[in-house]
Each structure stands twice: as structure tokens, then as C-alpha cells.
Symmetry: C2
Subunit: 591 residues, 2 copies
Amino acid sequence: MPYRAPVEDILFTLEHVAGLGPALEAGKLGDLSADLVRAIVEEAGRFAGERVAPLLRAGDVHPSRLKDGVVTTPPGWRELYRDWCEGGWNALSGPVEYGGQGLPAMLSVVAQEMWNSGSMAFAVGPTLTIGAVEALAAHGSEALKATYLPKLVSGEWTGTMNLTEPQAGSDLGALKARAERQADGTYRIFGQKIFITYGEHDLTDNIIHLVLARLPDAPAGTRGISLFLVPKILVEADGSLGAHNDLRCAGLEHKLGLHGSPTCVMSYGDGEGAVGYLVGQENRGLACMFTMMNNARLMIGIQGVAVAEAAHQHALAYAQERRQGRAPGWTGEGMSPIVLHPDVKRMLATQKALTGAARALCYACAHALDMAHAAEGDDKVFWTERASLITPLAKAFSTDIGVEAASLGIQIHGGMGFIEETGAAQFLRDARIAPIYEGTNGIQAIDLVTRKLPLSSGRAWRVYLGELSADAHEARAINRPEFGRIGEAVADALRHAETAALWMEETAPRDPAAVLAVATPFLRLMSLAAGGGYLARGAVAAAKAGRDDAPARAALARFYAEHLLCETSALAHQVMTSSDAVATVDLALAM
Amino acid sequence: MPYRAPVEDILFTLEHVAGLGPALEAGKLGDLSADLVRAIVEEAGRFAGERVAPLLRAGDVHPSRLKDGVVTTPPGWRELYRDWCEGGWNALSGPVEYGGQGLPAMLSVVAQEMWNSGSMAFAVGPTLTIGAVEALAAHGSEALKATYLPKLVSGEWTGTMNLTEPQAGSDLGALKARAERQADGTYRIFGQKIFITYGEHDLTDNIIHLVLARLPDAPAGTRGISLFLVPKILVEADGSLGAHNDLRCAGLEHKLGLHGSPTCVMSYGDGEGAVGYLVGQENRGLACMFTMMNNARLMIGIQGVAVAEAAHQHALAYAQERRQGRAPGWTGEGMSPIVLHPDVKRMLATQKALTGAARALCYACAHALDMAHAAEGDDKVFWTERASLITPLAKAFSTDIGVEAASLGIQIHGGMGFIEETGAAQFLRDARIAPIYEGTNGIQAIDLVTRKLPLSSGRAWRVYLGELSADAHEARAINRPEFGRIGEAVADALRHAETAALWMEETAPRDPAAVLAVATPFLRLMSLAAGGGYLARGAVAAAKAGRDDAPARAALARFYAEHLLCETSALAHQVMTSSDAVATVDLALAM
């Protein structure tokens, strides 16, 4: 079954859950209107469903290939990329002064969701270009921006991020690529980078690499890293393409998933050095990278939502078609569709509810970025902190549930789920990278407990949980039978999150290792509870507006609250009582 | 890192946790001695580590291939299979009167664990032969047994199980393959079977298919299914190989994992019909299959344990080698091994603790089968029911944690986990089938709540939980600081399981759908709690014996009890309160 973008659910979540509605009304987003938002989401949804999704499988069975330094992407992808750029989709979020549409992050993240539901291997390339545009727009010189931004914004060229080296993954301080100053103000770059997404491909004439490297006199560690723009093909003064730079793709990784996406080993300076241009200041490269880190992490989070949605649609279609056994209450002839078996329904509902919660979390994160962009003064601080606080939740929780939903999708298919032609397995293989790249989910959890909980001395998380508690309260106050115990269960979950957060605050100063040992369950706890708040908010809004989908929203929020939120009491208990047990295990001890 | 069989842990679990020690002392297992058990486990472990495991990757990158009806297994597998049979390993559990060693199920399951840790794709073939031997030994005529059993026991020929058809997976009642009676007392078989593991291969000269089919006058549904022995090559009266039977491998599946294992579409009777011999009575084929179902399901459960163990060893070796960042308390030079980062350690400990719990559960299940075999009268009933009760736990929980441990293994590897050459991803791809085949885990959960809880009017599960509660009590009574709250946490978990089981008993008669909706979390609850009891039992036994590994066992049991058993309170809550929420979700409703 082909992917169909859930346009109505996306619009509803944007407007009634994640804050787009009020932001539009308050005029925070320029001349953007609800009609324009709908038009964009519908159009992007159509392109994702009709053009991107049909190439999903081709991108799996025909991996990108390297021959004589040339990378060939899967059949059909060149045309897809061309048409996608011509449709203006690459330019959606780019700065207006360089040809972009300057649309808010909320729309960018929605579009990314749909491209990634269509084909994560295809969509991950443009995601990197967006990151390069942001880094360059924020830190590049006027000359660099004038030369490179228009073509990166249009998609005529793509961008990459070159951070990782074999010995420097999560710990960028260990990186060794080196840069040498030249008399003309340029630099020469030497070294090897690995895991470079779309480091080489045949979609465009040029590729603009952003590369972290170290100057000869740089301090050790993360304070001695600089950021350089290193084009694959050197650009002449008149903007035309000149000589090939001294860089090459030395190999492609053979990966579990994302086969269509070329993951490159990049070699810089095999000869006299690759020509590079400094972005920002010397030794401040990591800071430049970090300015776009929130957004990049959110863009990975939405990949989790995207694959979860696609896997759910795929499994639901199968479960409605496939017949086995007789479900309780089945009065039809012969075998019943398996969707009617309670255990299968539970799995499908789990996929859908987790996807809805993670979607709301990601959109709310994008909303915070947009508000931070538009606001000033205290408001700007508030929204900047809100985005910072939610980012690790949006990245880690969404990518975890992406894997869970994809794995459930296989299970729902039974034996057919293990057969590659069915397509269910590809979702798991593709989704499995998202909890790893752009900061592993373990690192997100550490970021949450060590850097995000302390924001504004703990005010940021308190206000956030407080807002969501108000949603729980409203769900209770609405007092409708179809709401079941939504209000109570969400309120309980948020209390568990609060109690655990207080424990974190109290424990961090005296026992940092204890906090790190349970950071991952804490992140899950916060995310699950927040997701409950968002789904409750949506159910309340739909009910108050008397929408046709109000019963469905209440039922899904109820399933999430009564079935899935049970986990939060266990997580709180785990966070607050089990650090010692983690510490005392000795894995090296023979037994 | 190559797999090393955890011989000491296996022996300890067998003897001190799962009941082998007392059974040997009581002389329940014939002339088997602890020394012989050790010798067998050590020797099998050596073969698994030195001969099977090195071919793990070859079995992935060189899938079995079909050409002109001939299936070629991965390079090295023919020699491996030959040497494995020559070592007598195929004959381990076979009946003595047909050349087998007649060893108890406990040793069979231990050996299976090690072959599957070495290479699940290789080991799954012989598992099917064991099943065929059992079915034939229990239900075959003397003539069939005399002709086929000696060669199936030695491994000169292999066996298969042909159940599934495209429209008949979980619901075997829907199967359509047909059998026609012949004047000479044989039958002719017609039809297509799918998902036939090792249905065709080049390891042996003959393959003995056990095929479920329907006679022309058979009643509809599961009461009209008969079991037939259908050899690939017909066997002459003198035992020599004759003509090729009218059956062929029509295709191989392209699967997510287990690439080395040929999963065949089998076509019977394209011509005048495949010659088949009735096993057991007409229309009683499913009953014949069910006599070996417990054992077959246990053999799949142990695959979960096996892959979890292998994935853990693989991830631990990497985490001890790989250096990134500085863990809390690290005083060495430069970056610390990632195993010292609390979040990485938590993941490794989770793998190890879940593996240990599932191993104990599987061995205890095998023990019950052995005791049932040896016992008579009430004792036989007791042990038969015990085996029946634990089988769905052993199958579903172990295969679920196999997937979890393999996925954690990828996460521990970071970016390298997504690269196929690392080997971490293969464990996930291979493990993912185990929750599906031999009855999906959802079906195991349904079996548990509808057929196993009611055994002896609920006495079976009460006595089982009661035994484990005694272990919790002992862990508490031992009163040693390194035990932390093992006793309390395990007792709590068992109470949660009991409360939920009581709810199941009470609810099943009046609301079957409610029970089915939460059968899966209930199975997980029972299994997690039981695993806690087993690990506590082991920790107590090691402490009392003053063993060197006593501190390590206590620490691991403590981690399991204090960190992982938190989940049980949530599961109990989920079981007892969320069925309505599952029922009210309407997935077809647009929103």
C-alpha cells in the first residue's frame, strides 16, 4: 500500500496542539495564513505520496554505488530530486534573501516528515543541505553566502556535514583532520571523515562540504576545532565551476538500512590539500555547529515519526486485508480480518498512539524554535529554552518509537513481515539509524539531565510540565464518557515525571554517575508524559469544536493514557531507585 | 570477536537454577552424571565457538541460492554440517533404539543454544530434523520408523515441517493441500507450502518432509488435517535411494535475516502427485504435530537466548575496546572505554540480565519436559502441566528479549552498529523472525491466558509462582548487603503477576475479548517476574556455596530486580485496567 500523507492529522496537530493556531492569530509568523499552511501541507503531501513513496523500495534494492569515484544513486532518484527542487521544496525554509521561502520551522518539519515517510533514504540528503544552509547563513562571510547560499537554497547544489572520524564519534574533541593557513586567506584541508551522508552522489553538479578540522596551533579538545566550507568543485569568481578540489569519496558503507543514501568515507588532501574557506572564527567551529544542532536533532526526530507513520499505514492496510481465525464477536463468513483480533489491534493502536505523541512533541519543538525566532527579550529566552528542553525528547523519543513502530509493523505481518518484498522489514532497517546519528539517544538523555533540566534554575521544565498538567485538568473537566480516565492518567504521568525530575535535580550535584545511569529512562518518562498531555489537548480541542474526528481523537488519547502511560510509574521508580544497581554490576567479572 | 560459549554459566544455570542437580541426585535421568553433562557442554561449546561461529557471517553474505531446482548453501556449510553430524551432535536427543544418545531435553536445549549463538541460520535446520524425529517416533508406524529414523537421527537425512500455506498461517484450519488415497495404502499429495525451512538444500542426499494435508472426505477445519511423510527421494525396499518424488522447491524467500537458511516455497504434485505415507491416523495430523509443539516452541525460545548471548558478547567486546569521552571517575589517560559510561553499562547489563533470566526460563522448561518424561502418575501430570505452562513464556519472552538485546547491541556500537561488516546488525536481522515463527508471540500469549492458566483449575500457575516466591524469600533471608533489595523486588514482581493472573481468571469467563487484549503484557509480566525468581535462586545458591562468582551473580540479580522488575507494576496495571481502551480505539476512523 502506498503512503498517504495524513494531511488532516498533521494540520490538526499543528494548529490545535503544537501552537500554530495561536501563533498565526497573534501574527507571530508574518503573513502566513492557515489557508497557505493547508495548501503547502496538501501539496507536499501529494508530492510525498505520489512521487517520493513509489521510489522507496528502489532506494532499498538498488543501493547507491561507487565506481571510479562516481556515486550512482538508485534508479529514478535523479529525476525525483530534480522535480522536487523544481517544485521549490528544497527552498521551503531557506532565507528569503537567498531565494528561499523563509517559512517557519513548523512547516519545514512537517514537510520533512512527509518526505521521510515517503523515503527516509532520499529525504536524509536534503536534511543535510538545510543544516549547511543554516550554518552558513548564521556564520558565513558575505562573500561565502553570496556564492553558495542561492544554490544550496534552490537545491542546485547540496550540502554535507563532515564531523565524524574513526576515533572521533560522540567525542568530537578527538578529531584530527587538519587545516593549514594559506597566504591568500584560504586554507588547505587534510584528513579522513567517515559516515558522511550524501558525501558524493549524482544528483547535482556540486557538493558543498562543511568540514571540522584543527589548525596547527589550535588548543587540544573541542576548543581547537574550526569549521571550513570545502566545495567538491571549486567555484570561480564569476560563479562558474572550475577545477575538482582535492577531495574524494574513498568508499561507501554497506549499511543495515538507508541503502539509497550514500554514506561516504571522505578523503581530503590526498595531494596538495583541499581548498577550504573558514566559516566563522578559527577554533570556534563547534560553536558554529551547535547553533544548528537543535534544528538538526529535531529533523532526525521527525524521521522517527515519519517511519512510524509509514510503518503503521503499511501494517494497518495488511491487517485490514489479511484474514486468519475468527476474532471475538466476528459474525461474518469464514475468517475475520486480523485487525479485529484484540492483540493485533493493540499493536496497531500502539503504533498510532506513539506516532501521534511523538508528532506533537516534534511539532511543539518546531513551534518553540519559531517563537524564539520571532520573539525578543524575556520571551525569546523563554522560547529558546523551551526548544532546548524539548529537543532531546523530540530526537530520542521519536526515533525510539520509530524503531518500535517499525518492529511492531513486522510483527503484525506475521511471517510475511520477515520477507523483504513485503516492505515491513525495510522500515525497521531504515529506522534503526535514527536513535544513533546526530547524537545517540544516550547522549540526548545526558544532554537532558545535565544541561536542559538546569535551564533557568529548573524553571523551564517546571513551566513545561505545568502547561501539560493544565491539559490533563481540562481532559478531566470535560467530563465525557469517551474520555475514560485520560485526565487522571495524564496527570499521574506528569506527576511521575515531576517527581523524577526533582530527584534528578537533587542527585545531580552529589552523584553525577547516578544521574547518568538512569538518564535514558528519565528521558522516556518525560517524553511519554508530555505525549499524553499533547494527545489530551488534541482530544479536548476536537471535542470542544464538535469535530467529526473528536470520538477518534478521544479514543486514541484514552488508549495512550490508559494503556501506554502505565509505563511512567515504572520509569519513575526505575529512575529514583536503581542507579546503585547499575553501578554495582561488573560485566567483566567471570560467571 | 568470536562467540565463546558461556559454559560455566550454562552449567550453573542447569544445575543450581533449573533443576538438573536435584534430578541427577534423585537418579531421574538414568546414568547421566554431572561429569558427563560438563563434558558434553564443554565439547559442544568448543564446536559451536570454533566451528559454527566462524561461518556466521558467510551465512549472511552468501545466502542460500536456488538454481534449476538445486539449493546451494553458503560456502563451508556442507563441511560444517558433515563434521557436526560426525561429532554425533545431531543424534544428541534422538531415541537410543535408532542410534540416538537419548539425552534429556535439558542437554538438547543447551546444545541448541550454543549452535544458535554460533549461527542461527545454520542451527535452525537441525532443529527441524529434531522435530521430525519426535513426530515420527511418537506417531509413525514401525515400518516408517525403521526406514527413516536411523538416518534422521544420525543426520544423514534432514527433516522438515510443512504446515503453512499462503492462506493458512496462524490458522491451520484453512489449509488446502490435499491427499488422495492409493490402492497400495500410500497417498498422493498435491499443493503448495510456504516458509519451509530447509525445504531444499545440498547438505544431505535426502530430505524427509512432514506435510499436513487434507483427505477428500475430511471434515472442514482443524479436525480434517492429516500428517504425511513425503521423502524428496523415494526409498526402495532395500533402503537405497530410488526415484525423485513429485515435489520441488519452487522458490526461496528473500528474508530480513537468516540468509543462510533456505526458506522454501515447496510444490507437491505438479505431476501425478507426490508419494506420501500416513503418520498417525487420518484426520489426526494436527494432534501429531501438537505432541511435539511444546518442544519445538522451546527450541525457538532458546534461539532468542542464543542470539541475545551472542549479541551481548559482541557488544561487550566492542565497548571494552572502543574509547570515547571520559566516564565519571575515569582517571586513566585520554578517553575511557565506553563500557565505563553509565548509560552504556546499563545497556550491556540489560542485555546480560535479560539473557540470564530467559536462559533460566528455557532450561526450567526443558527440565519440566525431562521430569514429565521420567515421572508417572500425579508427578507426570504435574510436570507435564509445568512444561505446558512455561512453554509460552519460554518461547515468547526469550524471543522478545532476543530482539531487544540485539537492538541494544546495535545501539552500544553507535554508528558502527549500522554498518553490516560490524556484525551487530545481523543479530537483529536474524533474531527478528523468532517472535514470529512457531506460533507468533501474540498466539503464545493467547495460549497462556486461555489454555495454560486454567490448567488444574489454576493450580499450575499458583504452585509455580509459589515456588518462585520461596526464592524471593530466601534472597531476603540471606541478608547480605550485595543483595540489595533483590528479595523485596522479586516478591513484589511475583505479587504483581499473581494479582494480574487472578484478574485474568476472573475476567476470562465473562469477557474473553478483554483478556485477549492484554494477553501480551500479561505474558511479559509473568516471564519478567519468573526470571527474577530464577536469578535470585542462582544468586542465593552461589552465595551459599561460597563460589567465586557469587558477587557477580548477586550484582546481576540485583540489577535485574531493582532496575528491570520496575516494569512489572506497570504491566499489572496495564493488564487490569486498559482492555476497554484497546476495545474503544477505532483504527479505521479518519482523523
